[in-house]
Subunit: 358 residues, 2 copies
């Protein structure tokens, strides 16, 4: 075999897309460096207790071979966990979830953890399947934005779990969420302060979060000594913008329309605004959760917002501590505060809900 002079960066002759290239193992490195397997392992993991000269030889061999530790084999070793977390959520297309994903990804990455994603757009059954899939991959922990449905099957899964944004039934675990009730109250109080007395609230179906927001809504009314007109509490059949749009249209065309609307979700807010735009009506509107471009709409949208990224960060941090065994406290409950962001739509007086002046 002819020998090239420079082999600093040995490029394999195989085509990259035909992955027949076997990655070098520690044994290859050991052979090349003329040392034992254990020595290589020691060098790779910190290199304590290895003579400098030997370590150097090993490092050179590693370099030359382009060796990389096989994390999979590593995760198989007795007792130890893998270095990946799982994140299970509904719809990455929803900026709310995407923000959580990004934030948790960052935190996990800083600790050398990868994040495996589970998509669950479907039934709660699909969520269970996805979670078990992930568990079978030996992830070190689970972050779950739970759908409704029982999560008791996670008990005894042998993996720490942190629920995000809403709690789950059937299992006691850490939970990181926002102060939904407080936020609901904040939004409603704000509208009440503007003099509104007929405030509609739009709710996505059976979400835990919207339920709490409704509680805040009711509490605000009680605090103001006002009775809630139950016909203004609108339970939507679906949690999307279309559903909210339709409901808003019906709501505003009633003989006794509300003078303000509290949309309990970012997508719902969108639907509400779309309907109002078409109708040419301008009741006050407050949304729950901030969203991109909220400040650029014809009437900038007032919202109750919280630090969603912090939701993801906290979840990841908590989970990492659980996984490492550093945190053995009983299940924690982290609640992030909400703040009102006034932009205009929520500051309209009751009198503005008439037909829009053209």
């Amino acid at each position: 075999m002819p020998c090239r002079e420079k082999e600093v960066n040995p490029v394999p002759e195989t085509f990259p897309n035909t992955p027949e290239t076997a990655r070098p193992t520690m044994i290859d490195v050991a052979r090349r460096a003329g040392v034992g397997l254990g020595t290589v392992s020691r060098v790779v993991n910190g290199g304590h207790g290895v003579r400098d000269e030997t370590a150097q030889r090993v490092r050179t061999a590693i370099e030359q071979l382009g060796f990389q530790r096989n994390e999979v084999a590593r995760a198989l070793r007795p007792g130890k966990k893998s270095s990946s977390l799982a994140l299970v959520l509904g719809d990455l297309t929803n900026p709310f979830f995407a923000t959580i994903a990004k934030a948790s990804l960052e935190v996990a990455g800083q600790s050398g953890f990868a994040v495996v994603l589970g998509s669950v757009d479907e039934d709660p059954e699909g969520e269970k399947r996805a979670i078990q899939e992930l568990v079978s991959r030996q992830v070190a922990g689970l972050m779950i934005v739970p759908d409704q449905g029982d999560h008791a099957f996670l008990v005894g899964a042998g993996v720490p779990v942190v629920f995000v944004d809403r709690p789950a039934t059937g299992i006691e675990a850490d939970i990181v969420m926002v102060d939904n009730e407080g936020g609901g109250k904040l939004a409603t109080d704000h509208l009440l302060e503007q003099g509104h007395e007929r405030i509609a609230i739009l709710l996505a179906p059976s979400y835990y979060t919207t339920g709490r927001r409704l509680r805040g809504y009711r509490r605000a009314h009680r605090g103001a000594g006002l009775e809630v007109d139950e016909s203004l509490v609108v339970q939507l059949p679906e949690g999307n913008a279309e559903s909210a749009e339709k409901a808003t249209r019906e709501l505003m065309l009633r003989p006794d329309p509300p003078t303000a609307i509290f949309a309990s979700t970012n997508f719902l807010t969108e639907g509400v605004l779309r309907a109002l735009g078409e109708l040419g009506l301008e009741p006050a509107v407050v949304g729950f959760d901030d969203f991109r471009l909220a400040d650029m709409l014809p009437t900038p949208v007032t919202v109750v917002a919280s630090d969603i990224a912090e939701l993801g960060r906290s979840a990841a941090r908590l989970l990492l501590d659980r996984a490492s065994g550093a945190d053995r406290r009983p299940p924690q409950r982290i609640v992030l505060p909400c703040a009102l962001i006034q932009r205009g739509s929520g500051e309209r007086p009751p009198s503005a809900s008439k037909r829009k002046p053209r």
Copy 2:
């Protein structure tokens, strides 16, 4: 040891968050079913060549123990790959990327593949690190939305790679992208047809994609027999909305402002609109890539759009075929078409770019 009568669903007594629960292995199942290890394996994988009665016993044992195949150990078996793909992208918070992630997740999931996410908000060096992290996790394939920087280090990684949205240098691999040049031409042609002759184009720094869009812009001008005023070709220092906002302000306050603006990226479009809103000016605007709420802004935004989800789906499909060895063709290049979505902002005549009538 006392024996309980019903042990159908044995709930471990350990606290869920202290994962000392050892998951049962195939050996446990074998013992419990009173069969050999091989038999269990056969049952778990299809169950061919096992007597019905035996298989039933095994299945019962699996049920009772809550056994789940260990995917990690499985990935370690000789020759075989893991059942996860990696997705490396910049910012999940950008709906564009989130859409890709979601779509590829769905396709991968349908084939029983998980997706490991790599976050790369940082330098190209960070991207390399992230990718190697993922490779060390033995993923069966990589989907990468590459940042600039050489990707030659992937040659010989022994893993099939599909680039998404833009190609990378240093390695020949599959690539799935949109017709950037065609889209750029489409947008520009449209503006030219409205009679615009001074069309500015805003470009994010050194992205491959925006470069191609610029080519389309130039080609459109050439086709119309017009010379491009190079002072209207604005290379932004950063690819965010703020940068575009600032540039737009400067652009429109020049003595010879453009009558139309082509924003070559969704975030840039946002910045442009924000600046125009503040200035109270209304030149024509066309954006590249559709975005949520584009139709609800004061002037609904005309965009050149493509099927982003399909981008993600195609990438995942292609990668799965490569990983399984089903696809051994030379590197493919899938290009998705763009379409113009007229909403108003792109149909303003040149004369409209005067000061906004209040």
